[in-house]
């Protein structure tokens, strides 16, 4: 096993600035790595496939290791030893037709039998059948409730199958994939510019995080240098995105507990963030603002002033809302103790973002796999151990404060110079990795450069891959009426997960 752990040898500085090396492993070594994951000796950061075979990205501390098993038909199942890999393996099978041997769950995941084709990224075959058996739950007086993919609220599509005894949930099983758009196939052979547009539309609420992670991956693969000013402007956008999402979701989570006043007030602050972003960067969600090589629009004096005014406004208004949350027993009664996520599970699934940090996993890409300019900024990573809906709200409240401080630092110390630089010619076959802390957690982008400024392959991994299964665990034993509250407190991405 130590041989495998020795392969986790790419330190942060190396993958942040250079093409990503990989270790070609044998099926035996692959399985040893899976066993090591199962024992908790390393974290699984991503698992995906390409034309060459399957890839597994492992993390231990500030080091990453990319293992590649070259194969055309099958590979030893990782999910057999390490549950977080199961849905990823099912997706690999659906998209590439590579079989995880010995996998405990052989049902399809993204493929609902409606594409008219199977294995669109591998050797295409006839469409699969649409039947999908849900996991059984047996016992006296159990009943099932099926919800989705069309929901009562204005949210993304997904199906939830609840098994309840009276009001209490015995099992929740999610079925996702309804938002699958075939991003992997669209990226293959796309120009680097089109790749950026698609990456920025993987999950709309994290468009900056995705565009930045993609740009990092491309720049690392090409060995490109990006102007300092561009990096600081990217961080400014990323923090505005975090701020907008945290403010919106703090309000929306309280609203799902029937406390509409928080939504009304937080909604006003969120709108202020989007308007400041629009004034500064020309788009409310800052879509297409981050491109490989830099940013598409520089910050002028008016934009600078709009963001500074925004920070003043939120500092003036937000504390009263935090006090409102803290002093409303009827609201706390719903959030405290509800939807508890076991820290052991958060660690096992390497749950990123506020979900992990509310359950003792003190990980933040900005600090632990640091990238510029965060290596020169002061911030704290709030962490709690209580792991319930309340803890996730309080982490996000603390992060709002950290983000406001970061925006202050970014505005004051913003370096001058160019906001973008031309990209060098790439070497076909070079791989690059990007990892950015979005509001939801670590967004990962992996690219392989093709000939003539194109993408040979890519993989975008949303933090939700490791969070969705935890929603199912956290909801157990809660009442069915608290599901919207629990689900919103995680706020996993459907589109980012479904690809």
């Amino acid at each position: 096993m130590n041989d495998i752990l020795d392969k986790i040898d790419t330190d942060t500085a190396a993958f942040r600035t250079h093409a990503l090396p990989d270790h070609i492993v044998t099926p035996g070594e692959w399985e040893t790595a899976a066993l090591a994951l199962g024992k908790g000796a390393a974290e699984l950061t991503a698992l995906w496939a390409s034309r060459r075979g399957v890839h597994m990205l492992l993390r231990a501390g500030g080091n990453l290791g990319l293992l590649t098993l070259e194969t055309e038909d099958s590979f030893p199942s990782v999910g057999r030893h390490h549950a977080p890999a199961q849905r990823m393996e099912r997706a690999i099978r659906d998209l590439h037709g590579l079989i995880p041997e010995g996998a405990p769950d052989t049902r399809p995941w993204l493929d609902h039998g409606r594409w008219g084709v199977s294995h669109p990224l591998g050797r295409p075959g006839p469409a699969t059948e649409a039947r999908y058996p849900f996991l059984p739950a047996e016992g006296e007086s159990l009943h099932q409730v099926a919800v989705g993919p069309v929901h009562a609220g204005i949210i993304e599509p997904g199906h939830f199958r609840f098994t309840a005894q009276g009001e209490t949930l015995v099992r929740l099983e999610a079925r996702l994939g309804y938002a699958h758009k075939g991003i992997g196939a669209l990226m293959r052979g796309a120009s680097l510019t089109r790749g950026a547009a698609i990456a920025g539309r993987t999950s709309g609420d994290s468009t900056v995080a995705y565009a930045w992670a993609y740009a990092q991956a491309v720049e690392a693969a090409l060995g490109a240098r990006v102007p300092e000013r561009a990096l600081w402007l990217r961080a400014l956008m990323a923090e505005l995105e975090r701020l907008a999402n945290h403010l919106g979701d703090i309000g929306a989570t309280c609203n799902d507990a029937g406390f509409a006043m928080m939504l009304a007030h937080c909604g006003v602050l969120r709108e202020r963030v989007l308007r400041a972003a629009d004034a500064a960067f020309g788009h409310r969600l800052m879509r297409d603002c981050v491109l490989p090589g830099g940013v598409s629009r520089d910050l002028d004096a008016a934009g600078h002033a709009a963001i500074a005014e925004l920070v003043r406004e939120i500092r003036a208004r937000f504390p009263a809302l935090v006090a409102l949350y803290d002093t409303s027993p009827s609201l706390l009664d719903r959030t405290v103790g509800t939807g508890w996520l076991d820290p052991a599970l958060a660690a096992r699934f390497a749950a990123g973002g506020f979900v992990g940090r509310a359950s003792r996993r003190a990980f933040d890409t900005r600090r632990d796999l640091a990238y510029a300019p965060y290596d020169r900024l002061r911030f704290e990573v709030p962490c709690r151990e209580d792991g319930d809906v309340n803890a996730r709200i309080l982490i996000r409240i603390a992060e709002v404060g950290q983000t406001l401080d970061l925006i202050d630092q970014l505005l004051v110390n913003l370096p001058g110079g160019e906001a973008s630089a031309p990209m060098p010619e790439g070497t076909p076959g070079h791989m690059g990795l990007g990892l950015v802390e979005g509001f939801r957690g670590d967004v990962l982008a992996w690219v392989e450069i093709g000939p003539g400024g194109t993408l040979a392959a890519s993989h975008l991994r949303d933090p939700s891959w490791f969070q969705w299964p935890l929603v199912e665990a956290a909801i157990e034993g809660n009442i069915i009426a608290d599901f919207p509250l629990c689900n919103k407190s995680f706020n996993c991405s459907y589109s980012g997960h479904d690809l």
Partner: protein, 170 residues
């Protein structure tokens, strides 16, 4: 809480009047549609939103319509939970094949008369996802569309203008 409520009473409302669109920005509304909605339904529209595989960007801006700045209910526009209560189906996303059946069933569940609005570039023609094996590439490939609102995503004020136009006639 009392202080916040009191402040809310004393501060001027944040809600903004809906400014008329620039002449060249007026959304195209079919002649047969103009006035028909008002004639048949009066001054109120119930809207059912379905995400047919969008990136979630459009949903963020549709949700923003309920905030204090846009306050869509003042125009008689209501976002409703069931297609059985809806006059208008507002669809986002390129219509993924995995969502097509659920979307069609939602449409079929709505009582007539009913109208369909495609919001965002993806719902118009698939946007940057057009050509994928996994999407239909635009809402009109599945059901007839009465009104299109372009944008990636459309701004809340554009969504609001188009919906008000549908209600009041072109």
């Amino acid at each position: 809480m009392r202080r916040l409520l009191l402040e809310g009473l004393l501060r001027r409302p944040l809600t903004e009047p809906l400014s008329p669109a620039e002449a060249d920005e007026t959304p195209a509304l079919g002649a047969e549609l103009a006035g028909a909605v008002r004639r048949k339904l009066g001054r109120s529209l119930a809207i059912r939103v379905v995400d047919a595989g969008s990136c979630n960007g459009c949903e963020l801006e549709i949700n923003a319509l309920s905030n204090a700045f846009y306050d869509l209910e003042r125009f008689g526009l209501h976002l409703v939970a069931s297609p059985r209560h809806a006059d208008v189906l507002l669809v986002t996303g390129p219509v993924t094949k995995n969502m097509a059946e659920a979307l069609k069933r939602t449409y079929d569940a709505m009582p007539a008369p009913k109208w369909v609005v495609a919001a965002g570039d993806c719902a118009l023609d698939g946007g940057c996802f057009a050509g994928s094996y996994a999407v239909l590439g635009g809402l009109q490939r599945l059901i007839p569309v009465d009104l299109q609102i372009p944008g990636c995503p459309p701004r809340p004020v554009d969504l609001l203008r188009s919906l008000v136009l549908l209600l009041e006639g072109g």
